[in-house]
Every structure is written in structure tokens, then in C-alpha cells.
């Protein structure tokens, strides 16, 4: 009985300690922001790694998600004779929810896990301590550019996902299933509000960008420096990102769209 209590206490203390470390870590990383201006090359290289290399995955996924939305939406809407609202359905669900959320989940699998593994391996092979020995702050040199690259890349990827998704929905809805082209676009434009929907979607994706990259980079930096520790950190990075993204999505949606 006492043993159980002891374990519970150790577990919760460990969880709080990790949360505290994560926040201190974020502050330290943000404190090195000036490094980005001094050495833009670091940021550009990371933008290439997390952003450019994700374009193909994001575009293809967006295209297929949009096509599925078009197909499923048509099946349900045609029962009510409301096929013309297909454009609204596809655009609203992509702009408000699926764009930011699915992009964040894909991004954590594609870029977040790579970041964790990279930094974890740097720690395991003592490259980080090596940098410290050379009086180079690994926080500024390694962590800060990766954090900013993730935060900048996410909204762009999410916009790409959403736009390609809507084109996918259009392709299935209009040429394939014969929804009227004019009402597809005009009903969409009448319903989707720029400030209410698109700006909120961009804000969402920025928040998700911070969350996913923060978790990924922190898990790598905080991992146990063994090969097993790196693999566990990579798993944790993806799992925690998924939880954090979906959980914060509910909060953000309630704040933005709940009247």
C-alpha cells in the first residue's frame, strides 16, 4: 500500500518536474532568438528540413482528404437534395479543423520525430556537450533555429494542405459527381468569412506549430542518452504531440467558434 503511494508520488513529481523543465527549456530557447538574425543560414537550413521536405506528404494527404470529403459529403448531402452545399462543407471543415489539425499530426510524424531523433542522437553521441566545450551554446545553435523553423513552417504547410484539399473536393464534386460549379464556389464564398475562419485557422496552425516543435525538440533534448532512450523519446514526441494538438484544438475551437 505504501509502495503504491510512493510510486504515485514519484510519478506525479516526475511529471511536474518534466513540465517545469519543458517551460524553462522554451524560455531558454526563446532567449536565444537573436541568433536567428545573426545567422539566418541556420534557420533556412532547418526550414528546408522541416518545411520543404514535408511539401510532398502534405500536398498528397491534403488532396486525398479533400477528395474523401467531397465523396462522403456528396453521399450525405444528396439525401437531402443539398448537393450545392458541398463546397461549403468541404471548405468549412478543411479551413476550420482538418487543415490545421491533420497538418499538425502529419507534421509531428514527418518532422517532429526527425527533430527528436536528431537531437537525441546528438545528445547520445555527446555532440551537445562537445559544443559546450567549444563555448558554443547548443541551445542557440541547435534548438532555437529548429523551434522557429517549425513555428514558421506549420502555417504555410497548413494553408497548402487546405487549399489543395479544397481543390481535391472540387475535383470529385464538380467534374466527377456533377455538382453545379457556380453554386459550389459561390456558396463557399458566401459562408467562409476571412477573419472568422481563415485567420482563425492560421492562428490555430501557428499554435500547433509551437506545440509540436516544442514537444519534439524538448523530448530530444531531455532524452536518456542511450539508443533505447532516443527511441522512447521519438515515440513520446509523436504521442504527446498528438494529445496536445487534439486537446488544445478543442480549447481553441471553443474560444474561437463557440459563441
Amino acid at each position: 500500500m505504501l509502495n503504491v503511494l510512493w510510486r504515485l508520488g514519484a510519478f506525479s513529481l516526475g511529471a511536474f518536474a518534466k513540465l517545469g523543465r519543458a517551460n524553462l527549456f522554451l524560455l531558454q530557447a526563446l532567449a536565444g532568438s537573436a541568433e536567428i538574425i545573426v545567422r539566418p543560414g541556420l534557420l533556412i537550413r532547418q526550414l528546408y528540413m522541416v518545411g520543404v521536405l514535408s511539401i510532398l506528404l502534405i500536398s498528397l494527404s491534403g488532396f486525398f482528404v479533400g477528395m474523401v470529403l467531397g465523396l462522403q459529403g456528396y453521399n450525405v448531402l444528396s439525401d437531402f437534395g443539398a448537393e450545392e452545399s458541398l463546397g461549403v462543407m468541404v471548405a468549412a471543415s478543411l479551413v476550420r479543423e482538418l487543415g490545421p489539425v491533420v497538418t499538425a499530426l502529419l507534421f509531428s510524424g514527418r518532422a517532429g520525430s526527425a527533430l527528436t531523433a536528431e537531437i537525441g542522437l546528438m545528445k547520445a553521441t555527446e555532440q551537445l556537450s562537445g559544443m559546450e566545450m567549444m563555448a558554443v551554446d547548443p541551445m542557440r545553435r541547435i534548438i532555437t533555429p529548429r523551434l522557429y523553423a517549425g513555428i514558421l513552417a506549420m502555417p504555410l504547410l497548413s494553408a497548402l494542405f487546405t487549399y489543395i484539399g479544397i481543390q481535391g473536393g472540387y475535383l470529385v464534386g464538380v467534374p466527377l459527381l456533377g455538382v453545379d460549379e457556380g453554386s459550389f464556389w459561390s456558396q463557399m464564398q458566401a459562408t467562409i468569412d476571412f477573419r472568422e475562419d481563415i485567420v482563425n485557422g492560421v492562428i490555430k496552425s501557428m499554435v500547433f506549430g509551437v506545440i509540436v516543435t516544442w514537444i519534439a525538440v524538448f523530448e530530444g533534448y531531455d532524452c536518456v542518452p542511450t539508443s533505447e532512450g532516443v527511441s522512447r523519446a521519438t515515440t513520446h514526441s509523436v504521442v504527446y504531440s498528438a494529445f496536445a494538438v487534439l486537446g488544445s484544438d478543442f480549447v481553441l475551437t471553443a474560444l474561437m467558434f463557440g459563441e
Binding site: 533556412i44 528546408y48 504555410l156 494553408a159 487549399y163 476571412f194
Partner: protein, 159 residues
């Protein structure tokens, strides 16, 4: 070309694609293009007994053509009437005896303001209001009236 240069170019392409997608979303998918219209148009108001499900941004139509949008709805506290302010695009001129009514598109569709143009030579100007208005039809009231009629008829038959 060295490796660093290629990476720079790719990142530039990526940022351009992302911003381009955002721009296309704003222009093609959302109603951003209408913001400019809202600034150009002139405002008219109308008092209704009941506006039903009319909302801000509902369309204003003349002969089925959209000529503007509802920009504000508030309650007149003295007469207990709803004051609907609408924004009409500047190229459309309305005679000052026009009638504003609230209709529903389809049986259960969204509600909009339909304008019936009058024959007066004078036109409505910015800040004017419609003199004649027709409130929204509330389905429950109609059903209620219909039921009352039915029961009166059946009552008179029995006599």
C-alpha cells in the same frame, strides 16, 4: 551551384507556395473580396416587426439579384421594432417608395431581404430608411393561424 544555394532556393519556393496558398484561400474561398464593396456602398435602414432568422451578412436582393448585405441589426427600444441596416452597392439606385420584405430562400433555407422597387422618381440616399416593410413569415404563426381557421370551420359545420 553549391548545396547551400539550392537549399535557399527551395526554402524560398516553399515560403512562396505557402503564402500563395494563403492568398488563394483568402481570394477564392472566403468573402475577402466583399470587404472593398462594404466600404464603397451606401447604407439604408428599415424597421421590421419581426425579422425571424435574419442575420448580419444576410443578402439583400432585388429581383433575385444580390445588391448588398445586412450590415447591422439592433432593437429600437421605444417601438420594440428591429432596425436592420443594410449596405447597398453604389451602382444600384432604389426609388424611395421601394418595399423591403424578409423572405426565405426555399422552404427551410436562409432568410434574406427582398426589395420590391417602387415607381417614384426620387432615389433613396445614404442614411435613408424604407417606409414600407414586410416582416418575416414565422412558420409557427402560420400553422397556428391555419389550425384556428380549421377549427372555426369545423365548428360552424356542426351547427
Amino acid at each position: 551551384m553549391d548545396n547551400g544555394r539550392i537549399i535557399e532556393i527551395w526554402v524560398g519556393v516553399f515560403v512562396a507556395i505557402g503564402i500563395g496558398a494563403l492568398f488563394l484561400l483568402a481570394m477564392q474561398v472566403s468573402n475577402l473580396t466583399e470587404f472593398t464593396e462594404a466600404k464603397q456602398g451606401y447604407r439604408l435602414s428599415a424597421a421590421f416587426q419581426n425579422i425571424g432568422g435574419l442575420k448580419v451578412r444576410s443578402p439583400v436582393k432585388l429581383a433575385g439579384v444580390k445588391i448588398g448585405r445586412v450590415s447591422d441589426i439592433h432593437l429600437d427600444n421605444e417601438n420594440y421594432q428591429a432596425i436592420v441596416v443594410m449596405n447597398i452597392q453604389p451602382q444600384y439606385k432604389l426609388p424611395d417608395d421601394s418595399i423591403a420584405s424578409i423572405y426565405t430562400s426555399g422552404l427551410l433555407g436562409e432568410q434574406y431581404i427582398a426589395i420590391d422597387a417602387g415607381g417614384s422618381p426620387e432615389y433613396l440616399e445614404d442614411g435613408d430608411s424604407f417606409d414600407i416593410t414586410q416582416s418575416a413569415l414565422v412558420l409557427e404563426e402560420l400553422v397556428g393561424r391555419f389550425l384556428v381557421n380549421m377549427s372555426e370551420k369545423s365548428g360552424s359545420k356542426e351547427e
